[in-house]
């Protein structure tokens, strides 16, 4: 018995593991809440684009010796707003605008980095994440930003829901649709940046999309979907860190793959909607 207890307890005797767990749980929970809107609006592509775009800001901040996260956050939010601005003109489709702008910002980052001689360490950790290097300062910054994001989602839940569901009716009702759409993009931008340290640019989209998509298979209404998504994110963080600790693999990959595993389970076994369920009980045709 005590062996199992030791096995479970052992990783958390290290302070860097406790910090990593706290940061990963907070980020994955808030990412699932914001990510619910992302997947419902078919915005997964932008969830992939913003962290890449933030790399441009990270690189600029690196050269200037400024805070890398602040640089990344500014670049993500500016790119999000530019995507909204370009696509709202109606001349270019939304996903085309995303494709152009995020690759542009990412290329800017690559170009700036290529001029530097000694960039490997810090910048590499942005690409793949370095959760074991988070400081208490990082944990508190993450927690504070996550709290702000959650408060904004709760306060404007009604408006975000309406605009996400039916933008033309929302506009006809007098809601400031453009401001709310930009605001949601900015929230996605900030969420991805706080996820950078945990899982890095390449994998952060998984935190936005995978837990929320898993929850969508298990729930019917939006608030439970957000809650279940947050739970899936938190459990993936916990299990991923155990795997990283004992198997000595990259924590970011372990967290994301655990979430992918949860999604696969839900996809197969979700009541009524899972693949196996549908094989066994063919549902009545909907009118």
């Amino acid at each position: 018995m005590s062996e199992i207890a030791d096995f479970l307890r052992d990783p958390w005797t290290f302070e860097f593991m406790r910090r990593a767990l706290l940061a990963a749980m907070v980020v994955s929970a808030v990412a699932a809440v914001v990510g619910s809107f992302v997947i419902l609006k078919g915005m997964a592509f932008i969830g992939d684009a913003l962290p890449h775009a933030s790399f441009g800001g990270v690189a600029v901040a690196f050269v200037l010796g400024a805070n890398l996260y602040l640089g990344g956050a500014i670049a993500a939010v500016v790119t999000a707003l530019l995507i909204g601005f370009v696509s709202r003109r109606g001349l270019i489709k939304y996903d085309t605008a995303i494709g152009i702008l995020f690759v542009g910002a990412f290329a800017l980052g690559v170009m700036i980095v290529s001029t530097q001689r000694n960039y490997t360490g810090d910048l590499f950790s942005f690409v793949f994440g370095n959760i074991f290097a988070v400081s208490w300062n990082d944990v508190w910054t993450t927690a504070a930003l996550s709290t702000v994001i959650l408060i904004l989602v709760v306060l404007f839940y009604k408006e975000i829901l309406f605009v996400a569901y039916d933008p033309s009716m929302a506009a006809a009702s007098g809601l400031p649709v453009a401001a709310i759409q930009y605001g949601l993009l900015a929230l996605v931008g900030v969420t991805t940046v706080i996820g950078l340290q945990t899982v890095g640019i390449v994998l952060v989209v998984a935190l936005l999309v995978t837990p929320a998509a898993t929850a969508q298979l298990l729930t019917r209404r939006l608030p439970p979907m957000m809650a279940v998504g947050a739970l899936v994110g938190v459990l993936s963080s916990l299990a991923g860190l155990y795997i990283a600790y004992y198997a000595d693999v990259a924590a970011s990959a372990a967290i994301v793959l655990t979430a992918t595993g949860f999604f696969a389970l839900a996809f197969l076994f979700a009541p009524e909607r899972g693949l196996l369920w549908q094989r066994r009980f063919v549902p009545a045709e909907r009118a």
Binding site: L40, G90, L91, L155, F156, K158, E159, L161, F162, A164, Y165, D166, S168, M169, A170, A171, A172, S173, G174, L175, P176, Q216, T219, R220, R221, L222, M225, R286, A287
Partner: protein, 257 residues
């Protein structure tokens, strides 16, 4: 055109010399007409004739190239809460995880204001609207679980919950069976008796001919405007619908896709 009013009663809507479009594509040209208070008015035209664009311009959602819209004597965007809108049901995301009651409650959001939560009166208004379209028993269901006709009625309930004076409805009759159409037309009649003004975009000439007070026949331009009996002449209809219209020998008119 303005000559048939009494002169004392202002128009609910006055559209003057409207031109609008997207990019370089022109969707509306020199559109002028008026809507009288308490009137059930139709907006009839083939697909791509600019019906939806016209409604969007009237709502202040789409900026016209030139011309103007006066709603209750006010230029540009109508006063908040006075004009209700029902979008085409193809534009609504039916897979979205919201209940029927939530969708109808959204009709109240414009009045509630930012951040504030819907109160008891908002919920009561939404429920009353659902009862009016006989969907009260479906309030807790997910919107995607309803049949096509029920979804349409849920959108109607949402526009009722807005408690607006002028209702702009985009294709509310499309795809409904005869009974559902009949119910909806009876509801329009009730609303008109309550003093509401309705402007309804539709393909359905026979409904308009039988039940509507006025009709705007549109194909990028206003082909004709007035009482359905005066507007629906063979000449006007073939000008509006061109080769989409087939006049059968029995006098039945069929509109092609």
């Amino acid at each position: 055109m303005a000559g048939n009013g009494t002169g004392t009663e202002p128009y609910v809507v006055e559209v003057r010399d409207l031109r609008a479009g997207y990019g370089s594509h022109s969707a509306l040209e020199d559109v002028s007409f008026t809507i009288e208070p308490g009137c059930l008015a139709g907006l009839v035209g083939p697909n791509g004739s600019g019906k939806s664009t016209l409604l969007k311009v009237m709502l202040g959602l789409h900026r016209p190239w030139r011309g103007e819209v006066l709603t209750y004597g006010r230029y540009g965007r109508p006063e908040r809460g006075r004009v209700g809108y029902m979008p085409q049901s193809e534009l609504v995301d039916w897979a979205f995880p919201v209940t029927v009651a939530q969708v109808v409650l959204m009709g109240r959001y414009g009045r509630i204001g930012l951040v504030r939560q819907p109160g008891r009166r908002d919920r009561e208004t939404a429920m009353a609207a659902l009862e009016r379209v006989r969907l009260a028993d479906r309030a807790g269901r997910m919107i995607g679980e309803l049949s096509g006709g029920e979804q349409r009625r849920a959108l109607i309930a949402r526009v009722l919950a807005q408690e607006a004076d002028l209702l702009l409805l985009d294709e509310p009759l499309a795809g409904l069976d005869a009974t559902a159409q009949h119910d909806l037309l009876r509801l329009f009649e009730e609303l008109r008796r309550e003093g509401k003004t309705l402007f309804v975009a539709t393909h359905d000439l026979s409904c308009v001919a039988a039940d509507f007070d006025h009709v705007v026949l549109l194909n990028r331009r206003v082909i004709a405007f007035g009482r359905p009996a005066d507007v629906f002449t063979e000449e006007n209809l073939s000008a509006a619908f061109q080769r989409h219209l087939f006049v059968l020998p029995q006098g039945t008119t069929i509109i092609g896709p």
